[in-house]
């Protein structure tokens, strides 16, 4: 089985983020890393495509030819990667991203495409479904368990009240939640091997796309302004001296909850 995993490379979320005051784009400086949300998809793919001749291909769109996040996923065990990187892609919205990634995914001709339900930095959560529609494929979002039985994918899909068992024929797009599987840590051997795994770097012209279709010029939405949110007024923080519970009771009485 040939599985494609969408891997987003993002600024380290541990470093506080900010928005560029003029462009309002997320400031992206320094090395990008693999979005933790995608480590579940990579692991899921590696588990599903573990047979003879099976292959896991990573697909990513990122600025400046960034590959460090892809190397992490290659070190986990993926076979190869396709990176789309082009100055014209700066400021792309989710729909443009989906158009670009769909062109890249087509090249890999997968049986199954896996993405995360939402990215850590953008969290629009719409890109994978847009990708599925562009590829003419069915999709199952919010998977908390995935298995493949012949040419059918079986998914436990989260719902408001529990979960649904959903079946879909391959090829298909599935988005996985955190916790679907426990991602492995790359081994030393894996890290070494990743250095020589093929990463195909493509520009938008290679994919037959026009600059006007993508990036800021293709985006049909814009940020108008950014402001600080109304802060909650500071509360009372007390160290428990054995009276913590009583203080909570008094507070609940004061607000008439009890």
């Amino acid at each position: 089985m040939n599985v494609v995993v969408c891997v987003k490379q993002i600024p380290d979320p541990a470093v506080p983020g900010s928005l560029d005051p003029t462009t309002h784009n997320l400031v992206r400086t320094g090395k990008l890393i693999m979005d933790d949300s995608d480590s579940y998809g990579v692991e899921m793919a590696l588990q599903l495509a573990s047979g003879e001749g099976d292959e896991v291909t990573l697909v990513s769109m990122a600025p400046n030819g960034e590959v460090s996040g892809l190397r992490t996923a290659l070190a986990m065990g993926a076979s190869k990667a396709i990176l789309v990187s082009d100055d014209a892609l700066r400021g792309s919205d989710a729909l443009s991203t989906a158009k670009v990634l769909s062109a890249a995914v087509r090249r890999a001709d997968p049986d199954l495409v896996i993405a995360a339900t939402e990215s850590t930095d953008g969290y629009t959560g719409t890109m994978p479904v847009q990708l599925a529609e562009l590829l003419g494929l069915p999709s199952v979002t919010f998977a908390k368990a995935v298995s493949v039985d012949g040419s059918t994918v079986k998914v436990q899909r989260q719902t408001e009240a529990g979960y649904d068992e959903v079946e879909v024929p391959l090829p298909a797009v599935v988005t996985v939640t955190a916790g679907v599987v426990e991602p492995r840590y790359p081994s030393f051997k894996g890290i070494m091997a990743a250095k020589s795994k093929p990463v195909d770097v493509l520009g938008i012209a290679d994919l037959g796309l026009e600059p006007s279709q993508v990036g800021a010029s293709g985006a049909r939405q814009e940020v108008v302004d950014v402001a600080d949110a109304e802060a909650r007024s500071a509360g009372e923080i007390v160290v428990d001296e054995g009276d913590g519970a009583d203080r909570i009771v008094a507070f609940l009485e004061q607000i008439k909850v009890i």
Partner: protein
Amino acid sequence: MAVDKVWVLVAAGESGPAPITLELLSEARRLGTTVEAVAWGPGAASMAATLGEYGASTLYDVGDLDGALPGPPVAAAMAAMVESGNAPDVVLVPATYDGRDVAGRLSVRLDRPVLTNVTGLAVEGGDVLSQHLVFGGNQVVRARFTGPTPHIFVVRAKSFAAEPAGGPPAAVEALSVPDTGATGTARIVERHVEERTGPKLDEATVVVSGGRGLGGAEHYAMIEELAKLLNGAPGASRAIVDAGWVPYSHQVGQTGKTVKPTVYLACGISGATQHLVGMKGSKHIVAVNKDQDAPIFSVADLGIVGDVHKVLPALIEALKAKA
């Protein structure tokens, strides 16, 4: 651009439309002059009275989807309507699982981008401006579409107040679903509904949530007992949902439920930005955490720096003594 027609995608609840549907209809009335609803499922038409009461003049019924996931057929039916000339200026989509699927599919079919995670809307200078909370709700971004309508917004729960307008039942109009080909082949073969006692998490006036600081799945019983004593609902951080301690339906936050109870009790929860966006709108917040620098204290009205294994059992005893 003046907003004339607004479509609201209906999310169904246990009986009738879910609260977010009524919130979106109320807001749609404020934005535009004509409000229409789109629903699916065997009970769609039976919601016409309530949807009308909240302002929908027409209910487009996509019908029983026969087990298909709603994204492709509902989006295809909506897109077909737009192509036939009945096009709205604005489409309001609830940020639910199915809502997001419909929005993504519709976006491609109409070739229109989507603005997601919307928490507020306003008409200014003829434009609809959407509001989004970023960086854990510390900053507010306002955005707008610059291209042609329809403009698709995916809106988070609890962003607007639901207010009935006293309208007559919506006129039901059946929509036919165009062939969705391979895209429409995902089928629900079985539904699992988790049992719940007490109020629903996103409707409860008291929410007691537990996080990794509880130390183990077995200690979640304290959260459930407290919730019960306070007639509230138990909630959770994603960390303990991912760890399998509690089902996903308990999760509060960006990927989980948005709650706005009278009081939110966070126990052993650090207060990551993705958790805060789901509960920051609570009227009152009480936090118990042993780390006095935990970010949850920055939003707490009352913060107890202490051990959940000491504070919570004492609180349970105190509440029992009062009952």
